[in-house]
């Protein structure tokens, strides 16, 4: 597995599942933070602005936790 990881890094070919998973953590963290500060659920634009991300990126990052390709992730980790 270490071999595969090195190959992925050297080649610059990071799997989507992996980088989106990192974004997913960021999005989740910020969402909770804003929820506490605002006392309500943030809007998509508020969250996007707070993260310096687009709405599109947030939608994609939110979905990754539950999609089937996370199976690959556990294989590569």
């Amino acid at each position: 597995i270490g071999e595969i990881q090195r190959f992925i890094r050297d080649d610059g070919t990071v799997k989507v599942s992996r980088s989106l998973k990192e974004l997913n953590h960021k999005v989740r963290g910020k969402k909770e933070e804003l929820m506490k500060n605002l006392g309500r659920s943030p809007t998509v634009n508020e969250l996007a602005e707070a993260l310096g991300m687009t709405r599109e990126e947030i939608v994609q990052a939110e979905e990754v936790g539950r999609s089937p390709q996370s199976i690959y992730e556990t294989v590569y980790e």
Binding site: P42, T43, V44, R55, E62
Partner: protein, 146 residues
């Protein structure tokens, strides 16, 4: 602003995620709260899963149709299959009712749709198919921005 889209996909469970993401991406231009967005994705999942599992009984060659229209703060989502249909709609809608108890399905799909959306219309005929039309008015953005 009015906008609309239609998505058609094969009745395989891999496409449930496609349906969720497409609706979320489309509806996100209305600036809903993250909570509203999650609710909308949940009802899309429930209706699409029903079409695949109950409507088409997992025949992967059939097609599920989804359409979404937005107008001001109003969202309309229609999910349609041409599968086996529902003979008793009232019974199907009852909380905990499921025709597949052996599958550990929750029987809560329709209850979730009715709770998360303002209005849910079910049209269904045996062997013709099922159409679920759901409406929701976003309230939070309006309350926040005006």
């Amino acid at each position: 602003m009015r906008n609309e889209m239609t998505l058609e996909f094969l009745s395989v469970s891999e496409n449930e995620s496609l349906a969720r993401v497409a609706v979320a991406a489309f509806v996100s231009q209305m600036n809903p709260t993250m909570e509203e967005l999650t609710d909308i994705k949940t009802v899309v999942s429930e209706a699409v899963t029903n079409a695949i599992i109950h409507g088409y009984e997992e025949n992967p060659h059939q097609k599920v149709m989804l359409s979404c229209a937005i107008d001001g703060e109003q969202i309309e989502i229609i999910i349609k299959d041409e599968g086996k249909g529902i003979s008793d709609i009232e019974e199907a809608k009852e909380p905990l009712f499921t025709s597949k108890p052996e599958w550990e399905r929750s029987g809560m799909g329709f209850t979730i749709m009715e709770n998360f959306m303002d209005k849910v219309d079910v049209t269904s005929d045996p062997d013709i198919g099922t159409t679920i039309r759901m409406m929701k008015q976003l309230t939070s953005t309006r309350a926040l921005c005006n």
